[in-house]
């Protein structure tokens, strides 16, 4: 392309070369399991002059999800919010505060009605009218209902927003409820994506957002509205300690020989076999291998899985969700019924000989007149 155009584009992209930008988009595409050609499409989508608006509603959260996003490097959070999207409202990242921030929210909602993405983190308390979380005098409950009804899509980031998370643990005094339940109860039909995790891997969120921006629809979701590219398999399937599980090598106590050797943590209560997530593949923080709980020697406790995280005892044994490859199991009945072909062939052969011999004998022997009773003298 011509030199001036090149400069213009680079300016737009804040000094990043086109090649690097395409590379980044291709990396995003690859992380989502999309064909490499999609990288270009993503690039086009995110460099359109009007950055898509995003509003971020924080309810009963610990800000861990935002902190997780801060650790992303491809794209970095600043790239995301300064160049790729228009983050019009976020409690932690707002430039302004107080009434100024609320005004920005209201303005954006008016201008982008039906077009903005609503990100929710933290669970929504519903007990006692939802008074246990209020922002600018309004309950989180009413805010979600209002904001959710006018959004193009809702992304619930973190376990709290996806299924209740830690605030919903027994006895759940505030009535902590996930975002999608709140919306459903109000009859609001805005599509919801759940990105559970405590916190989730930031790239699960980022990839989903970029996918939506590119294709104007949400990626393939499972029955709990989680994107399949990240939550389609249990951690156990791709765990780096899986060979130890398959070979029956377990750590029994923290610090014992098995633990030091990096053996499987199943006996310490690892919930990998019943937790859907991609921690074992993506890891955390882009700092190399073993940068995830199991890798550091602590069993997974199923932070992203409803019914597991903050529900089951930390060191109780997990119940695998399904038989997981790559482990090979023989079927109980490998033969598919009936007599196998070799034996059948042998049977057919023997029967054939019997019938053939019988037939031949009968054809030649029965009708013949007896000539052999005569003596055959030498």
């Amino acid at each position: 392309m011509k030199h001036d155009e090149q400069n213009l584009l680079e300016e737009k992209l804040g000094g990043v070369s086109r090649r690097d930008f395409i590379k980044f988009c291709s990396a995003v595409a690859a992380a989502m399991g999309l064909p490499l050609g999609m990288g270009e499409k993503i690039a086009e989508a995110v460099t359109s002059p009007k950055r898509p608006p995003v509003l971020w509603l924080s309810a009963q959260e610990c800000t861990g999800c935002t902190e997780s996003l801060l650790r992303a490097t491809h794209p970095t959070l600043e790239k995301l919010i300064l160049e790729l999207i228009s983050l019009d409202y976020h409690e932690t990242l707002n430039a302004g505060a107080g009434h100024q921030a609320e005004e920005a929210r209201i303005t954006s909602m008016k201008e982008n009605k039906g077009k903005y993405i609503l990100v929710v983190d933290g669970s929504i308390p519903v007990k006692d009218g939802g008074i246990y979380c209020k922002i600018a005098g309004k309950t989180a409950l009413s805010l979600l209902e209002e904001m959710g009804s006018q959004a193009a899509a809702v992304i619930a980031i973190g376990s709290c927003a996806s299924w209740g998370g830690i605030p919903s643990a027994d006895p759940n005094p505030t009535g902590a409820t996930p975002a999608h339940v709140v919306l459903k109860n109000k009859g609001i039909t805005t599509p919801v994506v759940n990105i559970p995790g405590c916190p989730p891997n930031p790239y699960n969120f980022l990839s989903t957002v970029l996918y939506f921006l590119t294709f104007k629809k949400l990626p393939e979701l499972d029955d709990q509205a989680r994107p399949k590219f990240a939550y389609g398999r249990i951690i156990h399937e791709n765990c780096e300690r899986r060979p130890h599980f398959d070979a029956g090598r377990f750590a029994v106590q923290f610090g014992d020989e098995g633990h030091r050797k990096g053996y499987c943590l199943y006996k310490l209560g690892c919930k990998g076999p019943e937790t859907f997530n991609n921690c074992s593949i993506q890891l955390f923080g882009d700092v190399g291998s073993a940068s995830w709980p199991v890798g550091t020697g602590h069993p997974c406790f199923g932070c992203s899985e409803k019914g597991v995280g903050f529900t089951l005892a930390l060191h109780s044994p997990a119940r695998p969700k399904y038989i997981t490859p790559p482990s090979l199991f023989t079927e109980v009945y490998p033969g598919k019924g009936g007599v196998p072909s070799g034996a059948k062939a042998l049977a057919a052969g023997v029967a054939g000989v019997a019938i053939g011999a019988a037939g031949a004998a009968m054809m030649t022997g029965l009708g013949k007149k007896d000539e052999d009773t005569k003596d055959k003298e030498e």
């Binding site: 072909s341 070799g342 042998l346 007896d370 030498e378």
Partner: protein, 376 residues
Amino acid sequence: MNQKDIKVITPFSMVLIGIMAAGAAVALYRLLFGLGASTNLNDAWPWGLWIAFDVVGGVALAAGGFIIAGAVYILNWKKYKPIVRAAIMNTFLGYLMAATSITLDIGHPFRIWHPLVMWQVNSIMFIVAIHVVLYTSTLATESSPMFFEKLNMPRALKFVNKIMVGVVLFGVLLSCLHQSSLGALFLIAPSKLSALWSGSLLPYMFLVSAVLLGLNMVSFETILTGRVFKHKLPMDILSGLAKGSLIVAVFYFVMKIWQLAKGPGIGAAFDGSTAGNMYLVEMLVGVILPMILLSMKDMRSRVSSIFTINLLVITGIVLNRFNVATFGLAEYAGQSGMDYFPSVMEFILTLAMVSFAIFAFKLSVKYLNVFPEGQH
């Protein structure tokens, strides 16, 4: 023809010798490299061609000896005396064939003597082993007159002839027991063997079918040797054997129908499964057709039709042995996903065994007095 006119080396015997040599090579290979290298046996099919045909089939094919010997020496039916030596010799060779095959089939051929000193009286295999050893010795004794005559040992000959009745009676007992024992082998696996054959009557059906097969084998051998060595064919013997076959065939047929009706029901044979079809073939070829033909007097009086009937019974009853030892277990074995078809080496050894029986019989006709009265 006279003994001196029998040519040992003919094109046919060259073929037999060739097969036997190949069989010897296979036996050596099997001894050196094991069963996995020489057969297609596997964990789901531990018993294959060698057990089904050579051992179980072979013993059934060799049932003629005790019947004719018993008829001649116990029942004193002297009419059958002309064929008694040939029948005994054929049976003896048949048992040698079965004994050699079982020795090669077991995992440790050189431990074949173990059952003689390590007893386990609950085991049918043990019973069979003891019987086979005793019966082969009995057959050797029954055949010894032919050898003593040849070797010119009159005192030994006299002694053997004196005890012959007792030896034959012992042989009859042993044969009844182990022909039925081979069927009893499969009593232990009712959940595996197809209901078409399994049931507590199995040993007795093996015995009766062995008698039927024995009568027809003797007739078959008599006709064959008559043709080959150009003897006059003893029509009275052949008709007598045919009549005996008719009686036994009817009895066997009734047993089979009774067992089928009491067990899975008559319809089970017609369900189109492999087992059902094999049962039908076995019944048709080995029992029903022969029964129908034997019931016609003129079929019983002509050599060619007798020969045909013999062939039908032989193939049919051997098929029955295959069915019990292999095909009746096939559906169950197939569940494991494993398959079986005998290897080339298995076929070679089996053929070699049969060749040995044929060739050895020819040699015995040439060098021993197998037909003291029948040679013209």
